[in-house]
Amino acid sequence: MAWQRSSRVAGYRRDDAEAHPPYLHPDYKGTRLRAPERPLTILPHTLSEITGPVYGPGQMGPLDHDLTRQHGGEPLGERIIVHGRVTDDDGRPVRNSLIEIWQANAAGRYVHQGDRHPAPLDPNFSGAGRCITDEEGHYRFVTVKPGAYPWGNHPNAWRPAHIHFSLFGPAFATRLVTQMYFPGDPLFGQDPIFQSVRDPQARERLISSFDLDATEPEWALAYRFDIVLRGREATPMKRTPK
């Protein structure tokens, strides 16, 4: 039958257990009632997991990547370029893949009705953008540097400045939602979301680097944030789940 053909598939490599945070990280209060308690079942990668949503440049608006030009005027704050390359862990580019970002404005306030932080909204800044990686896996956004903001996790808790990233990669199995931080932030030590990544080297990979070469003189500073998604199993697999 038709559905049987070409069914042998190469899956994606299983993640190193230390690369991602655990579901339960009690210092981050929100995990306490939301982390599953029962062990996860290993899902072999079938055609359902090695495929995933496909979005192309045709679906992007011309200014979707530029968060400073989505309104009548320019937003307040420090204008920055955020760019980098998306690859798999073998260094192969992740091409033509959707990246969505969102962030607080320069004062640390989100355009979200749930955000009650008494910092000003900026009529010229929404804080949402998206783009498609190019043939080499590169992406580039123009935005303003987000502010830190307080939250209710523990007394006097503040989130370090960050930009949220959502990536599809090539497959359902490569989907990643993460946050990009800025180098040298004094708030890292008390932030349980950043600290939920146990391996210090893995944690460092969430921090962008200041990129003088990518700055635009007399216009914008630049930060580089490279993103690594899981790579492909070398050989097509044939396995029966137990």
Binding site: T31, P36, D115, F194
Partner: protein, 193 residues
């Protein structure tokens, strides 16, 4: 020299509570128009370990079309039709009562890695404040008892009650009901992908 360990993966972080203005600005919960002749409604509530609704979750679905074909270049079964406009992807934020809803079509069968058919299913990823990484599960269909009983993924879940959480229930209005319980009694079966 030791072999190159490869590049380290970028760790996951929570989607947080403030994603709506970016991720769900467009309505991606209707995979087909409401008047599609084969439209099905899938709805449910996301609940936490205290049984309280989770009003700030985002549910994503990924599925094949009614013929069992994925709209993706790695599904090379070109004799199966693709449906214009059907991406197979959906995304819905939960509302104040923790509810989500998709309008879609029932996917056709797709092969497992051994070439055997899997029971029709929809892959699901759940994101929320408090989830440091997405939770992955699958929706199976209640009218597929025989296929479900033979499905290699479903039967790999040893605990019968846990396995049963993956089969949607029919509701009186003819909709399919699939609740997602993150923790505690009746927790949904989640997968490591």
């Amino acid at each position: 020299m030791t072999p190159d360990p490869g590049l380290g993966l970028t760790p996951s972080q929570t989607v947080g509570p403030f994603f709506h203005f970016a991720l769900t600005k467009e309505d991606w919960s209707r995979l087909v128009p409401l008047d599609h002749p084969q439209a099905i409604w899938i709805e449910g509530t996301v609940r936490d370990g205290a049984d309280d609704p989770v009003p700030d979750a985002m549910v994503e679905v990924w599925q094949a079309n009614a013929a069992g074909r994925y709209a993706h270049p790695e599904d090379r079964r070109e004799d199966l039709p693709l449906d214009k406009g059907f991406t197979g992807f959906g995304r819905c934020p939960t509302d104040a009562e923790g509810r989500y809803e998709f309008v879609t079509v029932k996917p056709g069968p797709v092969p497992d890695p051994n070439g055997e058919p899997q029971a029709p299913h929809i892959d699901v990823a759940v994101f929320a404040r408090g989830l440091l990484r997405q939770l992955v599960t699958r929706i199976y269909f209640p009218d597929e008892e025989e296929a479900n009983a033979a499905d290699p993924i479903l039967t790999s879940i040893g605990d019968r009650d846990l396995r049963r959480t993956l089969v949607a229930r029919g509701s009186p209005e003819g909709h399919l009901h699939f609740d997602i319980k993150l923790q505690g009694e009746n927790q949904t079966a989640f997968f490591e992908v």
